[in-house]
Amino acid sequence: MKIELSRKKLLNFGIPVLILCLVPVFLGGSPHIMHIMIMCLIWAIVATAWDLVIGYGGIFSVGQIAFFAIGAYTSALMTKVGVNTLGLGISPWLGILMAGIIAGVVGFIISLPCLRLKGAYIALVTFALHMTIPPLVRAGQPIGTGGVGSLVGIPPLQLGSYIFTPMDRIPSYWVALAIFCALMFAVYKIINSRFGLAYVALRDDEPFARSLGINMYRSQVMLFAISAFITGIMGGFYAHYLGLISHGILGLDIFVLVLVMVIVGGMGRFPGAAIAAFIFTFANELLRPLEGFRAIVLGGIIIAVVILSPQGLMGIPDLVRGFFRRRKPAMEEIK
């Protein structure tokens, strides 16, 4: 029985990873598609981390893209050398780690006052964090944030003597995939630990969970910081992959796109947000010709999904099952 279970687990992880490993073999010829695939992996992690906070923590935070930007800027500022920089010049790999740490620390500090509040108040405070970054970036011109423009010339990742330039999409894809697998596995472990079950208990029945001795405040602060850490790492990778970053990343379109992934994926249904990230990163590219109508379509999708299937994609099987189950007793009553 135990072997059976672990084989099932292995398949659940192995098949998606195998498919993702085969992507470069079949689609490697098109740099554009490889770029979209890398973006899919990045948004999949950001959406999953956001879902940890919204879906599992039940905390309506809107600061996730802010943590992403904090990570990206941290790593970029720490690794870049030259005039008007911090001049630290650390390795990009270390930079990515620092991106996670700094984002995690900011998340921790923000969550301390924030999680004393409830509902809409949390949304406002985290949104304030989101709004503070563009002025800081503008004011940070002397240390190399790029001011009103973009921060360019971020050093690419390097392995031995090999340099991952933005043009070699396939090697960058392997790096992204490795980070993706590691972080997805970490999130999976968190959700299925005692620690993770505590969140589900808190979300579903707060007074009962607290009566069992779960410290709600401390658990939520921890979750918030972990989520910010994961997002910061992805932000750091993003900066080194593209080689440039601007405060445009905090614009409404990316914010909404990632939020749509979380919601369509099904809040609090683990791999859902990641699956939705793949669908919507591609859908967003396909919808590009619609221009102005694209955001209308995205808005419409949000409304439709929340009303029709509150559990998102992951709720569709339940919805179908529920549909048939509801019919049966009615039939028996007629008899």
Binding site: G119, L124, A295, I303
Partner: protein, 289 residues
């Protein structure tokens, strides 16, 4: 001395405009606990409707006619929104969060529809009273005096409505105890529906004025929403008194910051003020829940 008084007076004018903008959001939040993220977009929508009517169908007629036509239209729109996208959610668990998400999606739809239909160019509704007025040494426009008057009238009218009429009392009963309200025969669904309509009608009044103070832009709804959002949370659980006090505090703060540091710093100062007050009064200035 003159500059300080001038700044304070400017702050009171801005505060009055914010009262009109925030009242609609506060009343929905107070009655149904829904933070309507599309409120700013509803204001922009009504401003565009007003602009469109005043430049086509109603061209040549006196502008105050907009106050008779636009709010009832928006009242209907508000009721439709509540019926269409909020009521289905009320049966679900943690629906306060899903309501935020849905209204956010709806705001996107409105903003981008306005962008597609009217284009990104700013539009302008001519002010109702154009002449420059001088009162006790302050120079201002008649339009701004009118906004102060309308804000005062709305606050008094709304307080009277909530405290003295049957419908208003029902609106206050529902959030206090929804089961109890249902038992004594208050149809809570109907109350939520009317409240949302009323909120949209208030948004319409705000929209008509916003179009005459600022240029209309499809994305302008977000800025208005964020400000109304801060004011309503600072006020505390849909309190009307709270909205008045919070609007004046933030309006005067905005005026001072604009004078001393420039408009870029308005929002940072707002958030600092917000966090400071919230750390002393975590439920907002006049919040009880």
């Amino acid at each position: 001395m003159g500059a300080i008084a001038e700044t304070l007076f400017g702050g009171i004018t801005i505060g009055s405009a914010y009262i009109i903008v925030a009242l609609g959001l506060a009343i929905v939040y107070g009655v149904s606990d829904v933070m309507n993220f599309s409120h700013g977009s509803l204001i922009m929508l009504s401003a565009y409707v007003a602009w469109f009517l005043s430049s086509t169908v109603l061209a040549g007629l006196p502008l105050p006619i907009l106050f008779i036509i636009v709010p009832p239209i928006m009242f209907g729109v508000g009721m439709l929104i509540e019926r269409g996208i909020l009521r289905p959610l009320r049966r679900q668990p943690n629906w306060a969060t899903t309501a935020i998400v849905v209204t956010l999606g709806f705001a996107l739809v409105i903003n981008n529809s306005l962008l597609v239909i009217f284009g990104p160019l700013g539009r302008y509704i001519p002010p109702m009273l154009e002449q420059v007025v001088t009162i006790g040494g302050f120079t201002t426009t008649g339009n701004r005096i009118l906004i102060m008057g309308v804000a005062a009238a709305l606050v008094v009218g709304l307080v009277f409505f909530l405290k003295k009429t049957r419908l208003g009392l029902s609106m206050r009963a529902v959030p206090q105890d929804i089961v109890g309200a249902n038992i004594v025969g208050i149809p809570s669904d109907r109350i939520f529906n009317i409240t949302f309509g009323l909120s949209a009608a208030l948004a319409a009044i705000g929209g008509i004025f916003m179009g005459s103070i600022y240029l209309l832009a499809p994305e302008g709804g977000w800025t208005l929403f964020i400000r109304a959002f801060v004011i309503v949370l600072l006020a505390g659980a849909g309190s009307i008194t709270g909205v008045v006090v919070a609007s004046f505090i933030l309006g005067i703060l905005e005026s001072i910051v604009q004078w001393q540091f420039g408009s870029l710093w308005i929002m940072p100062f707002w958030f600092v003020a917000f966090l400071t007050i919230m750390s002393v009064r975590p439920r907002g200035l006049f919040g009880i829940r």
